[in-house]
Amino acid sequence: MGVRVTTGRTLLAAVVGFGVALSVQAAEYPNIGPLPQLKINKAKAELGKRLFFDKRLSGDAAVSCATCHVPEKGYAGKEALSPGYPGNGHFRNASSLINAAHRKVWNWDGRIGTNLNDMTREMLTEDYTMNMDMRIMQERVKQDPVYVKMFKDAGYGEPSNGSVRKAIPEYLKTLTSTNAPFDKGRMSASAKRGMKLFKGKAGCIRCHSGPMMTDQRAHNTGVPENFDVFMDPMNHQAFIAFTMFQGIPNYMNLKRDPGYFNVTLLEEDMGKFLTPSLRELKYSAPYMHNGMIKTLAGVVDFYNQGSGKDSNKSEMLKPLKLSGKEKKDLVAFLEALSGDKLTSDKHVWKQPYPSEYEAIANWTKVRN
């Protein structure tokens, strides 16, 4: 992930220095307050919205971005493991895209730390996600008069794959938490108690800090492997293709998701995953990088027991000794971090796409 490594290391050292989960001082961590406003270009975002829901942006025109990032699910996956491209499965849970534009690092293993333009390219072109030859994509887009007009109106001129990679991130900016009780100051008493635990006894804030409730760093929390990754050859083939392409040693014998190890190739980073944002969790179950925990109560239980088993596991994770009531309060707080569903026309392209490509008239006479 490579973002703010030095600060992070210092931070981690500080945390380890405190040693115990019980006495976290919230002031040490970036405030979990509301998200900053993003400036959005409407025409570009509208174009990005049409692209996001358009299946013609995948190799065989069978899947769109929204196939794996489902609006009803907070733009996360429906299942523990993302479906992937036809002909294969996937090996991780599809993360929520709500607030993705606020991040600095993307993917569960943090392998993209540049911008959403690169992230968009990765998802469009990887063979286990959308398997799109972007030269074909560009020509498909140019063949649709609605796009030709939208690209022009957005100031991009002629459709190009470069501007597709700009328009989709512009649309992603519109997927920002809206009216979350936490942001509106309308939390229940239970949620308020939960927030106190979050910042104090439960120690969540040590990683889930800042407006996104994530430090955007990688940690090993000992989440058990999802055996479906390996027992289902469709998923396993995507995993093998991924690890082979990424240059992970001994990929044919790997029986675990290497996580952030992919970025550093350091043993100590094996099994680390990026801290996820805690916003919009109400919609985005199941949880964790591999969807192994089905409910928020399950997640709280997981951390309460000191999380899972792994020799690389973060020192910060110890049993929390939360009472039943405290656990409920914590869940109430987590739920208060979810806002309105972003499923109306404002965020979802609901108009039909043409069932076939119109021929360009007078083809022999016009320039391509």
């Binding site: 013609r56 995948s58 190799g59 065989d60 025109a61 069978a62 491209y85 036809p86 002909g87 294969n88 063979d127 286990y128 398997n131 030859d133 030269r135 074909i136 020509e139 498909r140 140019k142 063949q143 000992g222 058990p224 492997e225 055996f227 390996f230 027992m231 289902d232 050859p233 469709m234 396993h236 083939q237 995507a238 995993f239 093998i240 293709a241 991924f242 082979m244 392409f245 044919m252 029986k255 675990r256 099994g271 088993k309 792994d310 020799s311 690389n312 076939e356 490509y357 119109e358 021929a359 360009i360 083809w363 022999t364 320039r367 391509n368």
Partner: protein, 414 residues
């Protein structure tokens, strides 16, 4: 597509060495190179000794990919396996369908789902013999052809890593690759070797021998009287022998014979998409991308303007099964092909190549009578023997690589 120019005469081999090939470039081209071509083309007009048609011998086998029964059998499995492709729907046999002449019976090959191709699918039958594959000769071996087709965006659209990963999860393949290539895991490069080994056994030899070859080997009963008359036209007035010559029935060179652009590009949005994509994929210039309205063929490889619209001389064996014809499949019958050449490289609407300056000087109206056309057609039938059919093998199934016990043990060891 397999049928090619019934041109005048040409010293095929000699002229191939001169870059003009057997095309005439008008003197308008001012460069010295162009004048050189011109004189070469003039020389080519003289009656000459094209290699005569000869029976098909044994397929050449490259020393770095010897045939073994196990390799051929593995190659057959892979040829028919759609998992050698992007979304596991489109394998070699998808566009090289045994029941469609081991090709595809439409003008353009069907292409990857969501696309259409832009050229006619060529039969794999006898592909072992040709020094270069594809219409513009862009692959120098079956191995390279298989790789390009499996990976091309409008063909297989597969990527090495996912295809290799799939094979690793199919126990039958692991076993066979180990036996044949000695590797612990299937290697993608070996896939192209195995498929090529299989293809090299798919020839019009043995029981599939074509009547022409029987005749050329001395069985005079193999051709009818009409076919013998057609052969004389082929070698003489029709001028076919100028390019369709020798053992392979092709000079394996590139010629512009005047095939008009496929009208589908004017009417079909999907075809227009692929057309522009191909300009990119073949390394066109911006100007070329904007202005191209037909397939520039061999130009994409040579980048010489005089190569625009040239394509590899198609071999003629097995053509009874491989309609439609030409690089873009514009002719659906051999009658149309003969008429096209008889008109001097024009279709029935008078259309021809968009690069008339590059059109071979050998392509002239032939003045064939109806009887002669029928005779020629009858002779062309002698290039095909029995249809080569094959039962498609069953796809070996996937199986998990690890047992649950192994996974649990790994979990415990974390």
């Amino acid at each position: 597509m397999r049928m090619k120019k019934l041109t005048l005469t040409l010293v095929a081999a000699a002229v191939a060495a001169v870059f003009a090939g057997c095309q005439a470039t008008p003197a308008k081209q001012e460069s010295a190179a162009a004048s050189a071509e011109m004189s070469a083309a003039k020389m080519a007009m003289k009656p000459s000794g094209s290699p005569p048609l000869a029976p098909l011998g044994k397929a050449p086998i490259p020393p770095d990919n010897k045939l073994t029964p196990a390799k051929v059998e593995l190659g057959k499995l892979l040829f028919f396996d759609p998992r050698i492709g992007g979304d596991a729907s489109t394998g070699c046999s998808t566009c090289h369908e045994p029941e469609q002449g081991w090709a595809w019976a439409e003008d353009f090959s069907r292409g990857y789902p969501g696309t259409v191709h832009w050229r006619n699918s060529q039969s794999i039958i006898n592909s072992a013999y040709y020094p270069r594959q594809f219409w513009a000769g862009s692959a120098s071996s079956n191995e390279k052809q298989a790789k390009s087709a499996a990976k091309g965006g409008v063909a297989g659209n597969g990527e090495d890593d996912i295809m290799e990963a799939r094979l690793a999860l199919i126990p039958e393949y692991r076993k066979r690759f180990k036996e044949v290539f000695g590797t612990e895991w299937p290697i993608i490069d070996d896939v192209w070797h195995a498929i090529s080994a299989f293809e090299r056994t798919m020839n019009t030899t043995g029981k599939y021998e074509v009547p022409l070859d029987k005749y050329l080997k001395g069985d005079k009963s193999a051709l009818s009287k009409q076919q013998v008359r057609g052969m004389a036209l082929f070698n003489g007035k029709g001028g076919c022998i100028n390019c369709h010559n020798g053992e392979l029935t092709t000079d394996t060179d590139f010629h512009n014979i005047g095939v008009p652009p496929n009208k589908r590009w004017e009417e079909d949005g999907l075809a227009q998409i692929t057309f522009r994509f191909e300009q990119y994929a073949k390394g066109q210039t911006e100007q070329g991308y904007r202005s191209a309205k037909s397939d520039w063929g061999f130009y994409y490889r040579s980048k010489n303007k005089w190569d625009k619209g040239k394509f590899r001389t198609a071999p003629l064996r097995y053509i009874a099964y491989t309609a439609p014809y030409m690089h873009n499949g514009v002719f659906y019958t051999l009658e149309e092909v003969i008429d096209f050449y008889n008109r001097g490289g024009f279709d029935e609407e008078g259309r021809t190549t968009l690069f008339p300056k590059n059109k071979s000087a050998m392509i002239k109206p032939l003045g064939l009578t109806d009887q002669e056309k029928e005779d020629l057609l009858a002779f062309l039938e002698a290039f095909s023997g029995p249809e080569i059919t094959m039962e498609k093998p069953e796809q070996p199934p996937y199986a998990p690589l690890f047992s649950m016990a192994e996974l649990k043990a790994a979990q415990e060891a974390k």
